[in-house]
Symmetry: C2
Subunit: 205 residues, 2 copies
């Protein structure tokens, strides 16, 4: 279930009704294409064609393709933390169970046939140049992920919370990547089990 809330705060919050419809269709289509096939691989022509709109419509709502990509990632970011918070909320006050729930879900997603990894991670690989609009969003997302994982490791009572938090991040990123590299039956299916072992070895005795 993709992009169904507001498009961009600056667009939808004008006077509480009837934001441009074209912008939403464009962003929905761009979201799907960028995620599945990559940002560089998709041209604006294909986006407008599949969205049933024209190019000027795209450039009225988004200043450039790069900014459209950044908008796609901001949308991805919202849904990312929704999923995150959902797993956390399922085990209130139990950070270890939260992590395991989170990683179990990630592991399951990576085993779906056409899994394509994390949109954030992929975008950062596609745009190595510092300061690129898409990369900025991606880096912010990862910084926040690191912050949360370290905080959760501390709440678990790890001997070295920063090391455990970073170790969990490495496992997660490894799952994102190897999920799209190996497909079904790949190493990503064991991410939760390995995280559990790592946590066990990292707690104060």
């Amino acid at each position: 279930m993709p992009a169904d809330k507001n498009i961009e705060l600056t667009i939808s919050d004008r006077h509480a009704s009837a934001p441009p419809k074209a912008a939403k269709k464009i962003l929905d289509v761009a979201y799907d294409l960028f995620y599945r096939r990559g940002i560089r691989a998709i041209g604006v022509d294909e986006i407008v064609k599949r969205a049933g709109v024209t190019k000027p419509s795209l450039y009225r709502s988004f200043p450039s393709k790069d900014e459209l990509a950044a908008s796609y990632l901001r949308q991805y970011d919202r849904e990312y933390w929704e999923r995150f918070d959902e797993a956390v909320a399922a085990h209130p006050g139990d950070p270890r169970a939260q992590i395991i729930a989170l990683l179990t879900r990630v592991g399951k997603r990576t085993q779906k046939p056409d899994y394509r990894g994390c949109g954030m991670t992929n975008a950062a690989v596609e745009y190595p140049e510092r300061g690129h609009p898409a990369r900025v969003v991606s880096e912010d997302n990862k910084q926040e992920l690191r912050r949360r994982l370290r905080a959760m490791a501390a709440a678990m009572g790890a001997q070295d919370p920063d090391t455990l938090g970073d170790g969990l991040l490495l496992l997660i990123e490894g799952a994102y990547i190897s999920g799209q590299l190996f497909g079904l039956g790949g190493p990503a299916q064991s991410v939760a089990r390995n995280a559990d072992l790592l946590i066990e070895a990292s707690l104060k005795k």
Copy 2:
């Protein structure tokens, strides 16, 4: 120290001397540009310009840009296993020490200022379509990595060698990716420490 052995078996092994010099320059330049800035981001025009040759020269030695990218990855593959075997050879008969040596080096490389991750991983992200020449090389490389890590986990006497091998792979891939995402001081610097903890927790007691 880049690409200084043979270019392509099919080129250099013609009659044991004087293979086209242009092909080597092209592959060297392509290697550098593809790795640092991405394959899709680099056009053939830039490659031939920086190599000081012309486009027809490129297409006499390589049937297409995609195949040039595949050649780049085959070269990367050779150097990859050279580094791997080097770390292994430093600790004969001690798989755990081999892994730690390996991951210590990976962790160090990820902390270099302009670290750009694993060329194989990056190529697979850039080319999600199955069967793409570049992706095929990348997938083969990863399969082999998984095979070796599982074998080493078994040699260590892990309770569940496949799970430990896969866990190590997840940590390694996580290090490749987060190395280029976070730069200096990122989570990748702790990959060896986390691997050691994971190994400790995975051995038979």
